[in-house]
C-alpha cells in the first residue's frame, strides 16, 4: 500500500481517503441470483429488486408493509398478540427457545404483521408474513392476527391485501397450527360475503398450509416473479415421484400458465397496479398518488 500511496498524486489520495471514511460496512450487497455487486442504497430505492437481473429479493414483513402502504399511514393490528407454548413442544430444541431466538433475531413477536393503512389514499388493511420468523410458519398467533385483520377490514369496509411468504403450518403447534388453516379460511369466507375484496399476493416462497388456505383464496391471486408457490415442497414431490422436476416447476410463471394465479406483478409496479385493481373492485374513483 505504501509504495502505491507514494506514486498516486496527493489530490486523488485524499479523495480516496474521505470516500472511504464515509462508506460504512455493508454499503454493498450482492444479488444472489446474478452475483452482481450492488450499491445497497440503490437496491433499497429499487424495493430490493436487483437492478441488473430483476431478481426479487425477500423482504421483511415491515419492509413490505412500509413500502406498500402510503408513507406513515400504517397502524398495527394485534401487535400485542404473542405466542405461548401450550403443548410444551420439544424436539432437538424447546419450542419456547426457538420462539425466543426468532423473536430476538427478527424483532417480531411472531410471523405475521398486520396493519390498517392507506394505499394511494384508499383505506386498506394489509398484512405480511415474516419469513425469517421460523420460516413464516403459521401458528395460533398468525391465525389470530390474520382473523383480526379480516375483522378490521369488515369494520372499515376496507379491502384486504395479504403478502404471503411461508413454509406452511408450524409443526411445533401440531394440530393447533392445522386448525389455523380453517380459521383463516373461515374468516375470509365471511369477508367475501360482505363483498369486500381480498387480494392475495404470493411471494417467494409460499407453500404448505399457508398456500392451501388463505393464500389461494384471493378474489384476485397475484404472484411476484419467479416465486416458489405450491402445496408440497419440491423435495417431497421428488421423493414421491422419484424423478427430477422440470425447470420452472412451481414457479409463478408455471402457476400463471396453469391458471392458479391471475397475474404476475413486478414489485416495483405493485402499488400502482394493486391500487388500480382495488379501486375497481371496490368501485372507487381512479386513485392518485397523494401529495404526501
Amino acid at each position: 500500500m505504501n509504495w502505491f500511496k507514494k506514486i498516486v498524486p496527493s489530490r486523488i489520495n485524499t479523495e480516496v481517503r474521505t470516500s472511504r471514511r464515509s462508506i460504512p460496512e455493508g454499503l454493498w450487497t450482492k444479488c444472489e441470483e446474478c452475483n452482481s455487486v450492488l450499491y445497497r442504497a440503490e437496491v433499497e430505492r429499487n424495493l430490493y429488486v436487483c437492478p441488473k437481473c430483476g431478481h426479487h429479493m425477500r423482504l421483511t414483513a415491515r419492509q413490505r408493509l412500509d413500502t406498500f402502504l402510503d408513507a406513515g399511514s400504517g397502524a398495527e393490528i394485534g401487535a400485542g398478540v404473542e405466542p405461548v407454548d401450550i403443548l410444551r413442544f420439544r424436539d432437538s430444541k424447546k419450542y419456547k427457545d426457538r420462539l425466543l431466538l426468532a423473536q430476538k433475531s427478527t424483532g417480531e413477536k411472531d410471523a405475521l404483521v398486520a396493519m390498517k393503512g392507506r394505499l394511494k389514499g384508499m383505506r386498506v388493511v394489509a398484512c405480511a408474513f415474516e419469513f425469517k420468523f421460523m420460516g413464516g410458519s403459521m401458528g395460533a398467533v398468525v391465525g389470530e392476527r390474520f382473523m383480526r385483520a379480516v375483522d378490521a377490514a369488515m369494520e372499515d369496509n376496507a379491502p384486504l391485501v395479504c403478502f404471503s411468504a411461508s413454509g406452511g403450518a408450524r409443526m411445533q403447534e401440531a394440530l393447533i397450527s392445522l386448525m389455523q388453516m380453517a380459521k383463516t379460511s373461515a374468516a375470509l369466507a365471511h369477508l367475501s360475503r360482505k363483498g369486500i375484496p381480498f387480494i392475495s399476493v404470493m411471494t417467494d416462497p409460499t407453500t404448505g398450509g399457508v398456500s392451501a388456505s388463505l393464500a389461494m383464496l384471493g378474489d384476485v391471486n397475484v404472484a411476484e416473479p419467479k416465486a416458489l408457490i405450491g402445496f408440497a415442497g419440491p423435495r417431497v414431490i421428488e421423493q414421491t415421484v422419484r424423478e427430477t422436476l422440470p425447470e420452472g416447476f412451481q414457479r409463478s410463471e408455471f402457476l400463471l400458465e396453469h391458471g392458479t394465479v391471475d397475474m404476475i406483478v413486478d414489485r416495483r409496479e405493485m402499488r400502482d397496479r394493486l391500487a388500480a385493481l382495488i379501486a375497481i373492485l371496490s368501485r372507487q374513483p381512479v386513485p392518485k398518488e397523494s401529495e404526501a
Partner: protein, 318 residues
C-alpha cells in the same frame, strides 16, 4: 383368523397361536381341551387389555394404519342404506381416493364424503393409498354444494396419509382445491359431522374436516404432518417418529383434552378391525345422536357456532 399382529402385539399373537394349535389338536384327539382353550382365551383377552391400556402415540399411529383397519366404504356399507356413489368433479376426472354419494341414515337422507384406501395391492394403487388429488377435493366440493341445495346433512369420513404430493396434483392446483373446501365448508348451510376413522393427515384431512362436530375413533390419529415427516425435519431422522408422535399429541384423547375435537368413539378391544360390525354400530349411533342434536338448531345459529368454534382455535398471550 390372521389378525396381522403389530410388533407391540406379539405377546398376544403368541398366545393366539397357541390357542389355534390346541384347537387343531382338539379336533383330532378324543381328549377334551375346551377348558384349556377357554383359559388361554381369557388370558389373551386380559393381556390385550393390559397392552391396549397403555399405548404410546406411535403405537396408536400404527393401529390407525393397520392393514385390516376398516376403511370408509366398510363403514358406509354397514351404516347407511340406499348408498349411491356419485362420481367425478365435472372438470377433470374422478378420483377413487375419495368416494362421495347420497344415502339414508336410519331413513334420513344424507350426503357422504369419505377418503378411501385400498385393501390389496391393485386397489391400493387405484385408490392412490387414500391420497386425494385436486379432482377428488373438487368432487367433494360438488357434493357439498349438492348437499346444501337439497338440504342433506353431510357426513364425512377422514382417512388419508395426506393430499397427494405429485406433479399433476400441483399443476391442477392442489392448494387451491384444499383451500376452497375450507372456505366453503365454513359457511355451508347444512349440518356437517366429520369422523376421523384412521389417519387424519394434515391439509388432506382438513379439506373434508371443517364441521359442526368432529369425532375421532379411539385409535385414529389427526396431525399437521406425519410423525415420520415431523421427525425427519425437526430431528433430522425419520427414525425418531415415535418421539415426534408423542410431542405432537396426535391421539384422539389428547386432541379432545385440547378441545380440538368433540368426542372420542371407543373401539372394540384390540382395535376396530377386531370387530368391524360393532365399531360400525357405534359410529352409526354417534352419527344419529349428533345429527338429532344438530337438527334441532336453526341453520343461522349453527353457522354462527361453527364460525365461533374455528375462530376460537389457538392459544396466545395478550
Amino acid at each position: 383368523m390372521n389378525l396381522n399382529f403389530l410388533e407391540f402385539e406379539q405377546p398376544i399373537a403368541e398366545l393366539e397361536a397357541k390357542i389355534e394349535e390346541l384347537r387343531f389338536v382338539g379336533d383330532e384327539s378324543a381328549v377334551s381341551i375346551t377348558e384349556e382353550i377357554e383359559r388361554l382365551q381369557a388370558k389373551s383377552r386380559a393381556l390385550t387389555e393390559t397392552i391396549f391400556s397403555g399405548l404410546s402415540a406411535w403405537q396408536v399411529a400404527q393401529l390407525a394404519r393397520h392393514p385390516l383397519r376398516p376403511y370408509s366404504l366398510d363403514y358406509i356399507q354397514r351404516i347407511f342404506a340406499d348408498f349411491e356413489e356419485l362420481h367425478g368433479d365435472r372438470a377433470f376426472g374422478d378420483d377413487p381416493a375419495l368416494v362421495c354419494g347420497v344415502a339414508r341414515l336410519d331413513g334420513r337422507p344424507v350426503a357422504i364424503i369419505g377418503e378411501q384406501k385400498g385393501r390389496d395391492t391393485k386397489e391400493k394403487v387405484r385408490r392412490n393409498f387414500g391420497m386425494p388429488r385436486p379432482e377428488g377435493y373438487r368432487k367433494a366440493l360438488r357434493i357439498m354444494k349438492l348437499s346444501e341445495r337439497f338440504r342433506l346433512p353431510l357426513m364425512t369420513f377422514i382417512d388419508t396419509p395426506g393430499a397427494y404430493p405429485g406433479v399433476g396434483a400441483e399443476e391442477r392446483g392442489q392448494s387451491e382445491a384444499i383451500a376452497r373446501n375450507l372456505f366453503e365448508m365454513s359457511t355451508l348451510r347444512v349440518p356437517i359431522i366429520c369422523t376421523v376413522i384412521g389417519e387424519g393427515g394434515s391439509g388432506g384431512a382438513l379439506a373434508i374436516g371443517v364441521g359442526d362436530r368432529v369425532l375421532m375413533l379411539q385409535y385414529s390419529i389427526y396431525s399437521v404432518i406425519s410423525p415420520e415427516g415431523c421427525a425427519s425435519i425437526l430431528w433430522k431422522s425419520a427414525e425418531k417418529a415415535s418421539e415426534a408422535a408423542e410431542a405432537m399429541g396426535i391421539t384422539a384423547e389428547r386432541l379432545k383434552s385440547l378441545g380440538l375435537i368433540d368426542a372420542v368413539l371407543k373401539e372394540p378391544l384390540g382395535g376396530a378391525h377386531r370387530n368391524v360390525d360393532a365399531m360400525a354400530a357405534s359410529v352409526k349411533s354417534a352419527l344419529t345422536d349428533n345429527l338429532s342434536r344438530l337438527e334441532h338448531v336453526s341453520m343461522d345459529e349453527l353457522l354462527e357456532a361453527r364460525y365461533k368454534r374455528f375462530m376460537s382455535f389457538g392459544s396466545f398471550r395478550e
